[in-house]
């Protein structure tokens, strides 16, 4: 008897998608993730819901999958998707042949494509450059990867799955006695819980747990090689980094792609309140340790300003890097990472390496995560002898059941209209459950219009992990980057969690915010950082907070104040002197 039927490693889109799929088929699933959900590549992408247009010339199979899944996700994940539409924009001087090829490719792959004159393109997107010759309009969209991943995990849980975040795999348990010829099989994993098991709780001791399973799925993307290594098999992922720059506000409301053969810095995606510029493609050795270089940020702004000139002057709030989990069979030997296929590969280690009950999934892209998950689940069910069919294309995710954002937020929830609208856009059909509160419901994050009720709902889901609260709500992801709300979020942890826990959670969130801001320190964002520093270091005294001292404060060293110490003249004057000398 094993602890679980299937053990999935990796809390990104693929892992959560597999967990949901299997759980809906009645399989007992456990998912382990070393950070919070979306901690890896899923949380570090530009949020494009592909129409397939980007692959319509180079990789038509992928393009066809994209348009198919694009339609599925609009259905099942409405509250994660904004159908912005997209344009492939040809500037003066960009090759005509490529434009024609793109158009033809789209049409052949079944991607609705319409040619716009330069004038029409600029009427849709007024900030496009005058140099637009023409454009192809395609059904690209924007998708929130955090919300999507969390919804998949929530759905899996509703179907009985166990989801363990902050549970890092420390060993892959390999046994003799499997069905493969070598007789070797994976029987489970050893994981280390940072705190728990269960919800994250700062300052709780962690523990190590052995989880046994009938089958283990390695859905760790760029980290698949590391898990493979623990199991003694080679998984040749070729992680490739891409830089993305987050703008303070939207300069465009549709996805704007440059219509030319592959190149860096050729896409602007409107994402929630921001626009994200992408990207670069550089192979790296280690998915966690690679240089984040300023030239990548500069390149993004310089190149994309040619497409949308206002970007040159616009404020950036942060930059981030993601690593693509690229894979190709070793014999291909492609040198340029941009030439490596975006297709995914299912590695059955029983066939490949003589190691039974272990499957790795590598390559692939976010838009088709559900289809990948379906194929992996089919494969696993086949191994387990489960005959249930996949239902993930038909059953909406939690939050995406019928909902409308056209409501009277003020009357219903006592919220001002832009706050109500944004909250309902994020929460979808869960809005009534979350926002209908008895107590006062102030806005905690002004930039992103996140109220206490939404933060409390996220805390219920994820314990003291404020970064997990952040990805669920967008609190602290706006223009002040948490300067005005990190501490408000941390305060919400009390009284369920105590003060030192809240303090540690706050530090962790604040540091994560700062990490991305380092690459945007000029102009207005530099002013913002300086103000944030003043607020936190000076007003809140967080750089010298006595509460952070290891040793207790000896309060008896202090006198009792002016009124109490009248009898003790010498002490009072001493205090005064010290103050003058300060």
């Amino acid at each position: 008897m094993t602890d679980t039927e299937v053990l999935v490693v990796g809390g990104g889109s693929t892992g959560c998608g597999v967990a949901r799929d299997l759980a809906m088929r009645g399989v007992d699933v456990t998912l382990v993730e070393k950070g919070n959900l979306t901690n890896g590549t899923t949380g570090r992408m530009h949020g494009l819901l592909h129409s397939g247009g980007r692959y319509a010339v180079s990789d038509r199979a992928s393009a066809e999958e994209c348009i198919e899944e694009n339609r599925v996700l609009r259905d099942i994940a409405g509250h994660c998707v904004e159908m912005t539409g997209g344009q492939f924009v040809q500037l003066e001087g960009d090759p005509d042949e490529y434009f024609e090829e793109k158009l033809e490719g789209c049409r052949e792959c079944g991607i609705p494509a319409e040619v716009l004159t330069g004038e029409a393109a600029r009427e849709e997107e007024p900030y496009l450059t005058k140099d637009v010759k023409r454009a192809i309009r395609v059904p690209d969209g924007a998708i929130d990867p955090f919300r999507l991943c969390v919804a998949n995990a929530a759905s899996a849980q509703q179907h009985g799955a166990r989801i363990e975040t902050h549970a890092e795999v420390t060993d892959v348990l390999v046994d003799d006695g499997g069905t493969a010829e070598s007789g070797r099989r994976v029987r489970g994993l050893e994981v280390r819980h940072t705190s728990g098991p269960g919800k994250r709780e700062h300052r709780q001791p962690g523990e190590t747990e052995e989880i046994t399973a009938e089958h283990v799925v390695n859905a760790t993307g760029a980290w698949a090689g590391q898990i493979g290594e623990m199991a003694g098999v080679d998984v040749e992922v070729r992680p490739s980094k891409g830089a993305m720059v987050v703008m303070n506000c939207r300069q465009v409301d549709t996805v704007v792609n440059r219509c030319r053969p592959k190149g860096d810095a050729d896409i602007v995606v409107p994402h929630e309140t921001t626009a994200i510029l992408g990207t670069t493609d550089v192979e790296v050795e280690d998915p966690e340790d690679y240089p984040e270089e300023q030239w990548e940020v500069d390149l993004m702004i310089d190149e994309l300003s040619r497409l949308v000139p206002i970007l040159d002057e616009a404020r950036t709030v942060r930059s981030f890097w993601g690593v693509r989990p690229l894979y190709e069979p070793p014999e291909m030997g492609t040198t340029d990472p941009t030439d490596i296929t975006r297709d995914f590969f299912l590695l059955d280690h029983a066939d490949r390496d003589g190691l039974a009950d272990f499957t790795s999934i590598v390559g692939g892209k976010f838009t088709t995560y559900r289809m990948m998950a379906e194929k992996i689940s089919d494969h696993v069910c086949d191994k387990l002898g489960v005959s249930a069919e996949c239902r993930t294309a038909d059953v909406p995710l939690p939050g995406s059941e019928d909902f409308s954002v056209l409501r009277d937020y003020m009357d219903e929830f006592g919220l001002r209209s832009p706050i109500g609208r944004r909250s309902v856009q994020r929460l979808g059909s869960r809005a009534d459950d979350v926002l209908d509160t008895d107590g006062p419901n102030p806005v905690l994050c002004d930039c992103e219009a996140v109220t206490r009720a939404e933060v409390q709902d996220a805390i219920d889901q994820s314990g003291t992990d404020l970064n997990a609260v952040r990805i669920r709500t967008r609190a602290s992801m706006g223009n002040c980057q948490g300067g005005f709300c990190c501490h408000r979020m941390a305060a919400e942890l009390h009284p369920e969690y105590d003060e030192p826990q809240a303090r540690e959670a706050l530090d962790e969130l604040f540091q994560e915010r700062w990490k991305g801001e380092r690459h945007a320190l000029w102009g207005e964002q530099l002013s913002q950082a300086a103000l944030n520093y003043a607020l936190h270091a000076t007003t809140m005294n967080r750089d010298r907070d006595p509460a952070d001292r290891e040793d207790a404060i000896s309060f008896e060293e202090f006198d009792s104040g002016a009124s109490a110490s009248k009898g003790d003249e010498s002490k009072t004057s001493e205090t005064k002197e010290a103050r003058h000398g300060d």
């Binding site: 904004e82 506000c249 300069q251 206002i310 832009p418 944004r422 002004d446 706006g478 913002q528 103000l531």
Partner: protein, 440 residues
């Protein structure tokens, strides 16, 4: 003559060329100011909240979310097709204090004006009492013109208790305030009767934007301005003109404002062509021509009118030795409790009246502090805003009572109404006192 002064900060909207430069221009898909995309303006905001701390409405009304929310936050949260604007924008009094307090040049009042315009256009019921009332208040000039044809009858009627209570019940115009009286002879009638300008000059020429109030209600202010400028040797032009638009912006009636602005820009741009600079006696009128027009409209000539418009006393201080003239002059018993209107403050003119009065023999002016008078044009006339208006004004009333003077002074006609309403003092315009001292 004002070329020398029109340089300065190239980012100031007033100094931008109306002629399209070779630089990037977003395509003109925003023909109406109600459709402008001001999201990029939120880039400048680093959330410091200084605007919220100087907002007089937020200070007394806990329900009002403040200028930071109304402006950069609300704009940044918008997606292209989002139409709804929070109704709290109607509680903004358009004092524009947030604008001058912002350390980072966020175009706050432009954001508020545009959002308010969108709100009124899209969300306000056109048959509602509020819309009707606001439309009437915003178009004060229209009714003032009718009323001033029969000033005595109108004054009798508007002062009538029955009419006032009907106004409140039917229109939501407060009955607490005394309606301003119409003059027997408007400024323009006086101007025509006297045969127009008494001085002709090719070197010194100004075009006077008198606005509605000094035309219909206090022509003495306009007459004083004319006498004063003629005393300094200026040829005064009085071009045809409509309302400056201030009450229309404040009520979100941008289409009305646009019509009025179009006439004003074309008339005054023509005067500028003839070598005149534009002067105004009302600080809200000059504010409107200088800042709101270029922020909201782009008629030909908008930028040059904005760049060459001055408040009247400001203009004399720049071009004449007004200080020396005042020092030589003398008046009797002229002590004033002076309130600087918010819109004067925004133009950097908060200190000039006190400075000038103190130079004038026999006169003195005491500044009654930085607070807003609370009336903000049409705001304090609305029945539901009256209490807020008086609460904002309380600090000014107290300071006026504390000051030695028993007469008030301000440049803004509606601030003057509020000062009189709260203290019972007579309120003078600086131009009246200066004209008395120098001309009569």
């Amino acid at each position: 003559m004002s070329d020398a002064e029109s340089g300065g900060d190239p980012h100031d909207a007033r100094n931008e060329e109306t002629v399209e430069s070779d630089e990037f221009e977003p395509v003109q898909v925003f023909p109406e100011s109600e459709e402008m995309d001001l999201r990029p303006g939120s880039d400048d905001c680093y959330k410091c909240s200084t605007c919220d701390s100087v907002c007089p409405v937020a200070e007394v009304d806990d329900e009002f979310p403040g200028p930071k929310f109304q402006g950069p936050e609300q704009w940044r949260l918008k997606r292209k097709d989002d139409r709804d604007i929070d109704d709290s924008v109607m509680s903004c009094s358009n004092c524009m204090r947030c604008d001058s307090s912002c350390p980072s040049d966020v175009p706050l009042s432009q954001m508020h004006n545009t959002a308010r315009g969108q709100f009124v256009q899209e969300q306000m019921e056109k048959l509602s009492q509020e819309y009707l009332r606001n439309r009437i208040l915003a178009n004060y000039r229209f009714f003032a013109e009718l009323g001033s044809k029969v000033p005595r009858l109108t004054n009798f009627l508007m002062g009538n208790v029955v009419v006032q209570s009907v106004n409140e019940k039917l229109l939501g115009i407060t009955s607490e305030r005394e309606f301003p009286e119409f003059a027997d002879e408007t400024f323009r009638e006086w101007w025509t009767n006297r045969g127009g300008a008494k001085i002709e000059s090719d070197e010194k020429r100004v075009a006077y934007f008198h606005g509605c109030y000094s035309n219909y209600n206090t022509p003495e202010v306009g007459k004083s301005l004319v006498r004063l400028f003629e005393y300094f040797g200026y040829e005064v032009l009085v071009p045809p003109q409509k309302c400056s638009g201030t009450p229309m912006f404040a009520n979100g009636m941008l289409a009305d404002a646009r019509r009025a602005a179009e006439t004003n820009v074309s008339e005054f741009a023509a005067a500028i062509e003839e070598g005149a600079d534009v002067i105004a006696s009302c600080t809200s009128c000059s504010m409107s021509l200088r800042q709101e027009y270029p922020e909201l409209f782009d008629f030909e000539g908008t930028a040059s009118v904005a760049a060459q418009t001055y408040e009247a006393v400001e203009y004399l201080r720049l071009h004449e030795d007004l200080a020396a003239e005042l020092e030589r002059a003398e008046v009797e018993d002229a002590d004033f409790a002076y309130h600087a209107p918010c819109h004067a403050r925004n133009q950097g003119l908060a200190g000039q009246a006190v400075e000038m009065m103190d130079l004038l023999g026999g006169a003195s002016a005491e500044d009654v502090g930085e607070s807003c008078s609370g009336i903000s044009g049409t705001y304090g006339w609305k029945a539901e805003k009256y209490d807020t208006s008086m609460e904002i004004g309380a600090e000014m009333f107290d300071h006026m009572e504390d000051a030695e003077a028993e007469t008030g002074m301000t440049e803004c006609p509606t601030c003057a109404m509020q000062m009189e309403h709260g203290t019972g003092y007579e309120i003078r315009h600086p131009l009246e006192v200066m004209a008395e001292a120098l001309v009569e």
